[in-house]
Subunit: 530 residues, 2 copies
C-alpha cells in the first residue's frame, strides 16, 4: 500500500521470531549463530528506526537457558535496547494487565518505567521452548521482563477458557490492537479443542472499533501434524488484519492473503536452522511492517549473517553405476566419490551466494539426504572428516535413507520428503509418545494401577525437556493422594484384594473419562470439516 509513509502517524515494527538463543551453544563452530542473528535483527531495527521489535516466541532455545546464554542475551539487550531515543508509541490499555502477569513489580511497558532508559522496545510472547515452568510458572523471558529489558505479553493463566486482552498501542492517529496467545504448557490438541468449542475469546476495544488495526501473534503448529494438533487459519477471528505466526521455522514472511478470513498471515521463521531440512534452507528474512490507520506496508529484509544451509536429496542408484563384478570396496569408493561431487557443487554454490557480510560464518551447513537403496552405507563420519575445514557440520553431512513403502495418506498434507521417507520420521517422534506406547504395551499384569501412562509420559517429558527435577515425584504424590481420597470416599472396610479392585475400577473410570473427551473432539472435527 503506497499511502503508508514514514510520518508521525505511521507505526513501524520489526517482525522476527524463533531466535533460539543458546542453540547448541557448546558447539565451537555454530554455538554463537543465534546471538549473531539477534544482533543483526537489533541492528536492522535501529537502522530502520522502527518503533519496536515484535517477536513470535522461542527467544531462548532451552527452557532453562545456561547462565552464559542468559548473560549474553542480557548483554545484547543492554547494548541495543537501552539509550536516549524517545518512544512515540503510547500504550492506552491497562499496562499492569498487559505486562504485570508474572510480577507485581511490572506496572507498565518498559519504556515508561522511569528507572530504565529504553531506546528500542521489544514485545514478545514466549514459545514452546521457553515456556513457563517450575515454581511461579515463569518463563526465561520473564528474567528479561523483570529487569525492564523486554515486554512480555500474551500470558494465559487459565486452561479451560481463554480470553485475550490486547495491548492497545497508539501513534498519532494510528491505533494498533496487539493480541498474543501463549499456550504455556497446553498441548496443541487442547488449544485446538478450545477453539472448536468457541472457548477462545478476543476482547475488543470499547470505542471506535473500526479504527483499530488488529494483529494476532501466536506460536503454534501451523502445518498439519495430525488431525487435531495444529491450529487451522480458519479457526481465527476474521476481524484480524494480520496474523504473525511463530513456531514454524521455514521463513514465509511475505504476507500471505487468506481470502476467506480476509487477513494476512506472516510466518517469520527462524534465523537459526535447528534442523537440517529443506524448510530451513530457504533464505532467512525479517520484515519491517508499517501501519498507518488500517493500511499496512511490508519491507522484507534478508538476514546477512545467517549461516548458509544447503540440503540436497540424492539417490545413489541414479548417480553410481559400478561395472559388473565390482568389489564392495570399489562400489563404496564410487558412492563416496558421487557424494563428494555433490558436496563440492554445493560448496561452490554457497561460495557464490555469500552475503558479503563480515559476520556471516565462513563454513556453511551441508546436508545430503542419500537414498541408498541397492547399496551399502559407508562411514558418514569419516566421509565428513574430509570437509571439516569447509563445512560446519562434518559429523552429519550425509544422512542415509531408504524409500519406505509407507502408504501416503491422502488426508495429510504431504509437503516434503519427511512425510515420504520412513527413516526420517523417527526424528520427529516425541519421546513422551514412545514412553506412553511402551507403558501401554505392557501385559495387563504389569500395567500401572495408580498412575496413567499419559501422566507418566508427560512427567518424563517435563523432566527431560524442561529439567524439572521434581516432575515425576510430583505426579506420583498427586496421583497417590487423589487415589487415596477416592478410596476413602468409596470404601469402608475392604480387604487388600477389594482395595486393589477399587483402585483398578478408579483407573478405568479416569481412562474412560479422558477418552470420551477425545472422541467427542474427533466427532466435532468431522462434523466441522464435512
Amino acid at each position: 500500500c503506497e499511502t503508508v509513509q514514514d510520518d508521525e502517524n505511521t507505526m513501524s515494527i520489526l517482525v522476527a521470531s524463533d531466535v533460539h538463543l543458546g542453540y547448541i551453544e557448546k558447539n565451537g563452530e555454530r554455538g554463537k549463530d543465534s546471538f549473531v542473528a539477534l544482533e543483526e535483527i537489533f541492528t536492522i531495527a535501529k537502522e530502520r528506526n522502527v518503533d519496536f521489535v515484535l517477536l513470535g516466541g522461542d527467544l531462548f532455545h532451552e527452557n532453562k537457558p545456561s547462565r552464559k546464554t542468559l548473560h549474553t542475551a542480557m548483554e545484547l539487550f543492554q547494548k541495543y535496547c537501552l539509550g536516549d531515543r524517545p518512544c512515540s508509541v503510547k500504550v492506552v490499555s491497562d499496562q499492569a494487565v498487559n505486562f504485570g502477569h508474572t510480577s507485581s513489580s511490572i506496572t507498565c511497558v518498559n519504556y515508561e518505567n522511569p528507572n530504565v532508559n529504553i531506546s528500542l522496545p521489544v514485545f514478545s510472547i514466549h514459545g514452546n521452548h521457553d515456556d513457563p515452568s517450575g515454581a511461579g510458572e515463569l518463563s526465561a523471558i520473564d528474567l528479561l521482563s523483570v529487569t525492564g529489558l523486554l515486554n512480555h505479553f500474551g500470558k494465559q493463566t487459565k486452561l479451560d477458557v481463554i480470553s485475550l486482552s490486547p495491548v492497545l498501542l497508539q501513534k498519532g492517529t494510528t491505533k494498533l490492537a496487539l493480541y498474543g496467545l501463549e499456550k504455556g504448557s497446553m498441548r496443541d490438541e487442547r488449544l485446538h479443542r478450545l477453539f472448536l468449542n468457541h472457548l477462545v475469546t478476543m476482547l475488543r476495544p470499547k470505542e471506535s472499533l473500526d479504527d483499530w488495526f488488529n494483529v494476532f501473534v501466536l506460536h503454534q503448529n501451523r502445518s498439519k501434524h495430525g488431525a487435531t494438533n495444529y491450529i487451522p487459519e480458519q479457526f481465527l477471528d476474521d476481524f484480524f488484519d494480520l496474523i504473525i505466526w511463530g513456531h514454524e521455522h521455514e521463513c514465509l514472511i511475505n504476507p500471505q492473503w487468506n481470502p476467506i478470513k480476509r487477513f494476512f498471515v506472516m510466518q517469520p521463521g527462524s534465523p537459526v536452522a535447528t534442523s537440517l531440512c529443506e524448510g530451513e534452507s530457504k533464505q532467512k528474512k525479517v520484515a519491517v511492517v508499517k501501519i498507518r490507520g488500517r493500511e499496512m506496508k511490508t519491507d522484507i529484509i534478508p538476514l546477512k549473517t545467517v549461516r548458509q544451509l544447503y540440503v540436497e536429496n540424492i539417490t545413489l542408484a541414479d548417480g553410481v553405476h559400478p561395472p559388473a563384478g565390482s568389489s564392495p570396496e570399489a562400489i563404496e569408493a564410487l558412492s563416496q566419490a558421487y557424494c563428494e561431487e555433490v558436496v563440492e557443487r554445493l560448496l561452490l554454490r554457497a561460495q557464490s551466494q555469500k552475503s558479503g557480510h563480515p559476520r556471516q560464518p565462513r563454513k556453511p551447513l551441508i546436508r545430503l539426504r542419500v537414498d541408498y537403496s541397492g547399496f551399502d552405507i559407508f562411514n558418514a563420519y569419516r566421509f565428513g572428516a574430509k570437509f571439516a575445514d569447509r563445512v560446519s557440520n562434518p559429523e552429519n553431512i550425509v544422512h542415509f535413507l531408504k524409500k519406505s513403502v509407507k502408504k501416503i495418506r491422502d488426508d495429510l498434507d504431504v509437503k516434503d520428503m519427511d512425510d515420504l521417507i520412513g527413516a526420517e520420521v523417527v526424528e520427529n517422534v516425541k519421546m513422551e509418545d514412545l514412553v506412553q506406547e511402551y507403558l501401554n504395551s505392557k501385559d495387563e499384569k504389569e500395567q500401572m494401577q495408580v498412575l496413567s501412562a499419559r501422566g507418566v509420559s508427560q512427567a518424563v517429558s517435563e523432566f527431560v525437556t524442561k529439567q524439572e527435577k521434581d516432575a515425576i515425584k510430583e505426579l506420583c504424590c498427586h496421583q497417590i493422594k487423589k487415589t487415596k481420597n477416592y478410596l476413602q470416599e468409596q470404601t469402608f472396610n475392604l480387604d487388600q484384594n477389594e482395595i486393589k479392585e477399587q483402585i483398578k475400577s478408579y483407573q478405568t473410570e479416569r481412562l474412560k473419562e479422558s477418552s470420551t473427551k477425545e472422541s467427542q473432539e474427533l466427532k466435532e472435527i468431522l462434523e466441522r470439516t464435512k
Copy 2:
C-alpha cells in the same frame, strides 16, 4: 569515634553478608526467609540513608539458583535499588577494571550508567555458594551485575598469583580503598599457600597513601577447619583498617580489634540459619559503618524479621530418672516428656523474645541436641509432629547424639559441641572427601589407571553441588588426552602390556608431583608457626 558525623565528608555503608537467597525455597514454612531478610536489609539501608550496601558473598544459596529465586531477587533489587536518589560517592579508580571483569558491556559502577536509575548501590563479592562455574566462568550475581542492579567486584582470574586492585571511592574529603578477594573455585588450602608464599599482593593507590581508609572484604574460612584450610588473620596486610569477613554464619559483627595487625574485623554472619547450630542461634544483626577520613564509627542494628532459632544441649541421663524395673515403653514416655518440657520452655522463651516486627515468622526453629547415652532413641519424626503448629522444623527438632570417645586434639580450636560429638561430625564431611577415600581404598587391581582419585572427587563435587552436567565427562576427556600425549611422547612400538606399564608409571609420577607440593607446604607452615 565521636568525630564521625553525618555530613558531606562521611561515607556510610550498610554491611551484611551471606543472605543465601533461595535457601530451602520449596519449604512452605521457611522458603521465603532469605527474601524477607534481604528486604529488611534494604529497608534499613534506605531508612539510614546509607551511601551503599556492601555484601560479603553468598547472596545466593545455590550455585544455579532456580528461575523463581533469580526472578524474586531481581524484583527486590528493582524495588529497593532503583529510583531518583543521587549517589554522592565517586569512583576514582578504573571502573572497567573494577567491574568489567565478566562483561565488556560493564564499563562503570551501576549508578554512573546513564540508562539505569540507581538510588541504592550495592557492592558485592561472590561467595563459595554462588561462585562462578560453567562456560564464561560466570557467577549468579553476574546476572544482577550485567543488568545494572549490582556492582560485582573482587574477581580474580589467576590461580597462581593474586594481585588485588581496589575500588577507590571518594566522598568529600573521605577516601576509601575497597579490596575484595574472591577465590572462585580455589580451595582454601591453595589460597592459604598463596598467602604463605607472599603471592597475594595488594595494589595501593599511588598518591597520598596515608589518606585512604582501607577495607578488605573476603569470603573464607575464618575458624580452623584443619591446619591449612582457613585464613589466619595474621596473614592479612596490616595497612588495612577494617576486614569484613564473610562465609562464617555466626554474627560477630561488633568490630573486633586485632592488636597485632592493628585492624578491626567484622564478621556479619548470615541472616538465615542454614544449619541449626549454636553459632546460628545468636542474634542476627547488620551494621552501618560510617567513615570520615581515617576514622570509623559503627552502628549495630538487630534484624527483626529473622526467624528465631533456639538450640539446646540436653542429656537424657540428667533429666530422666525412671523407677527401677520400668518397661522400655515407660522409659520412652519419660524421655519424650522430658524433651517436650524443654521444647515448651524454649517456645515460651521465643514468645517473650519476639521482635514485634509484623514480618517476623510466627514459628521459631527449635533444635534439641539430645545425648541419649544409656537410653534408647525414640521416633523423632513422630515427636516433632506434636509441635507442627508451633515449630517451623517439626521434622528435625530432636537430634540424637552420643558423646563419642574421640580424642580432642590440642592443636585444634574447639569452639562448640560439634568438635566434641562424633555423630555430628558426619554432617560436616565433604562428599568429595568420601569419594576420594572410597576410590583410594580399592585394591590395587581395581584402582583407576588414567584418572586420579582427587580429580574424580572434584569432578563429582562440581557435578553435584554446581550441577555442572559435563564436569565428569570433561575430566575424562582431559585426562585421556593428556595420557595419550604422554604415551605418544614416551613410547615407540610398545605392546599392550608395556603401554599399561607406561600409563601406570605416568600416574605415579603425577601423584608424586602433587604430594611433593603438599609436603612442601606443610614444611613451610611448620617453619612459620615455630
